[in-house]
Amino acid sequence: MAFKIASSPHVGSTLQTAKVMQRVALCLLPGIATQLYFFGFGTLLQIAIAVITAYAAEAAILSLRNRPIKSTLADNSALVTALLLAIAIPPLAPWWVVVIGTLFSIIIVKHLYGGLGNNLFNPAMAGYVLLLISFPVQMTDWVSPMSAAQQSVDLTYALNAVFNSASDILVIGHNLAIDGSTMATPLDTLKTDLSMGMTTHESLAKPIFSGMAGLGWFEVNLAFLIGGLIMLKLKIIRWQISFGILSALFICSSFGFLLNPDTHVSPMMHLFSGGTMLAAFFIATDPVTAATSHRGRIIFGVMIGVLIYVIRTFGGYPDAVAFAVLLANMCAPFIDHYVRPRTYGHRSGS
């Protein structure tokens, strides 16, 4: 009889892309749960809308591109993109905000660049930046943490806020602000206060900063850190990028804080507020848009860390994760070109 022919190796590991993505999604769960606890059901709604939109958009664009739909949808990459975007946007943002963001992420940022593996920018972050620039009001009205607002955002409230706001965006936004269920994020508040001449000390005395780095935010970041450490343990991600981001951010913020504590926030605030941990473990580690070599990844991470600090401290936006990641994405091919490991039997560089 004739036997089957195949190229070596004839065995392979069982860890497939779909499984990797699935595990990434699972590792997001602690963070998502914490976020739900502190900021109410809004996030869950955003996630649902984002995931449905992402799969629909991916299926549509795949059929337009004449690519296999079922097997591609099964790689779970759209799921991860949708989750990251949904987590990043305010829980009570109107539904169309997340829909626009997801469509942009999947169709334009991912598939118009060639689909999974070929996109230059992190789809979730590009979608987030689009929304932040286009709808700054909706994107900066964040729900107050539960204990601060003294009232919970239950599912009905969240549904109402997310789906009934389409007709009158500004009114809803103001209403929400007035009834105290939404407010600026701690980093936003701090920036505003500093610009108004307050010292960090004065600003940090506000109730929003209760806890280590702002109520709720610290816990959420901690949960993402835990999820990230699980991924490291499972070897879904490697340490270089996360280490680069966190160490660079820590060093930069420590310098600033030591130089002038009145106008600079503490390293702790930087590390555990805003989207730092989410970025360090889940966003910047997207291998497609990161550098590939070990050293390159450290450089890539350090770059993001420094950019986060610089934009947070000197830039116009309260948080800087998305911008930092996108800027570093642009540099990734450049880093890859110049940072190559020394091959066995070669003296240096290439």
Partner: protein, 765 residues
Amino acid sequence: MLTLLEQLDKGSLWQSPGGIHPPELKQLSNQQAIGRLPLAKQFVVPIPQVGEQARLLVEVGQTVLKGQVLTEGTGFIYLPVHAPTSGTVTAIKAVASNHASGLPVLSCIIDADGYDNWCDLITSDPAALSNDDIITKIKQAGIAGMGGAAFPTHIKLNTASEIDLVIINGVECEPYITSDDRLMREYSNEILKGIEIIHRLLGPQRIIIAIEDNKPEAAQAMQQAIHLSKLPANSTRVTVIPTKYPSGGEKQLIQIITGKEVPSGCLPSQLGIVVQNVGTAFAIQDAIYSGKPLIERVVTFTGKNIHQPGNYWLPIGTPVAAALELVDFRPSTTQKLIIGGPMMGYAIHDPYVPVLKGTNCVLAPSNEEISPDSDEKACIRCGECAIACPALLLPQQLFWHAKAQEYDKAASFNLQDCIECGCCSYVCPSDIPLVEYYRIAKSALRVEAEEKVLAEQAKLRFEARLQRLEDEKLAREAKAKEAAEKRQANMKSSDKDAVAAAMARIAAKKAAQSNEANLQSIVKHDANDSTGVDKKSAVSAAIARAKAKKAAQSAEQFSIENNATQTPSNTHNPSDSVVEGGISQQNLIAAAVARAKAKKAAQNNQAITSDEAVNGLADSSTSDTDPSLNDKKAKVAAAIAKAKAKKLQQTEIASDSADTEPNEDNSITASANGAMAKKTIADDNTDPAEQDKKARIAAAVAKAKAKKLQQVETSNVESQLSSSSITLEQTPNLDSAVLDKKAKIAAAVAKAKAKKLAQQAEKKD
């Protein structure tokens, strides 16, 4: 800081980057001792080197004995091939090879007779042999590296480099394979004997037997054998290394044992290291002590579809299919049959391929054991491949460029350093057959390099051809020139005169043509044709010839001239060089004149003639070569000189009354030459003391006068001559400004005059 030797003795290990830990599955086949399968009925012995560096020693129908050498050859990498059993050669043909390609290769088909009779074996004691003898014996035994690559062992053992360290590779890092494991367990003493021989040949300071820690029994057996061996104390040790694929790769093993990296594109021997497989050491021992060539090896038959897995001694050339029948192989519908391990082995399509010297394993896995066929998905640049790569490459970048067929870029990422271990493919979450891409890219680069070499060779060839053609052309020209010179040198003076005369005549004609307007009427009379320059010159040439003929005839009628008794053929003309360089008219003229002069001189020397007259002419002719003279005048003079020469010659010939000239034309021209010369001598005799110009003018005028005389149809030659003498005396009075034209006219007239003379001569007859 410990020295390397101290660290080797301590058993220090270094880390090899990358690597993977696939399921080992060695226990499938390493549980029982190496068995022996019944002899196959037919053997296929590939003889790929036949036709290149070897020739076959057997023919179809011949009976061979076990161990009998089948080929004979020379060359560095030639290895003899031996009959694996006794039997009959039934065919010599190309059959499918045991190779990933399965391409047919020339093979010797031997039908076993079942007796398995050995040929005569020469056993020897290595102590009695010189190193060269041992190397020769190893080569004669056809020993090749048994780890898989099958590189001729005698080359590795005959290195020019100083070897400090020999590593005996018993790592066997591929999953499933246990042939070396069993061999070490059961034949450790024999392997050590082989190592002793290697030690003797290479003289290393240390020998390290490297074994992975998943083979403790083998390590123990080898350790015991070291104590029993005759190797120097503390020179040899077993170093157990951690199990990791691909630690058994030569470069990786060197790195683990010594911490050194083999520089890219170099051999380990350049680091003073040689790596030999344990199986090779066993084969060396067999070849030296028993005299047995390498005709059998241990092969692991394993995989869950082989129901009697284990290790078996198999003669080289046993068809895989024949062996599979004996180990209870139950193929599934989508069975893969792998030669080698699951990481680097190749799947074969046709099981009727022979076991080779490097075939260490036949793997028949069930479908659960191997990765299912899955479509390649998009690379997500996760970088797991780079982490797994033992060569520290960036496999995802290599893949990216290889897939885009940017092979040069792939090469810039050191594609050539890829050892094709398969770690990257193993870890790839997107099921990308990375190694396959690299193989394609490598072969494309190889083809490209070969094409480049061929193109370079073609270019060199083309340039060489152009150079050769150029050289040939130059050589031909030089030869032609030489021949021409020789011919010139050997040429009869009459021929030379003829050539010179012809040249001078052409020059004169040209001079005449340039004054066509003035000449026209005269030319009409002379040539009966005034329509064109060409015709005129042709006609004038014809006339000149006719004239010369007439002159000759008349000369024949006249009494024999006293100066014409010499045959001109013996006369060597001293003015050859003028012919060579004579392109300009002036040169031609000068040549003609010089020749005429020479002719005269010759005549002067060889015959007693009117010397003074000749000398006078020679003088005047010589001064004609003065470059200050104007062209036209010179030409006219040349024409005259030439005519004179012709006449002279004609006279000579006439007086000879024998035709010695090679052809008619020459004779005619020569005759004319002679006739003219003679006439001119007569002219010149009348006024030898005249100035150059005047002399020439006089000559011209004489001709003009002759023409006039002709017009009035004077019937007496003597009167003509006297008239010309008179005219010559008158010439000094002529205005120098009109000399040119007149001279030319005179030249034309002279010809006509000569014609008349000839006619008159005829009439005289």
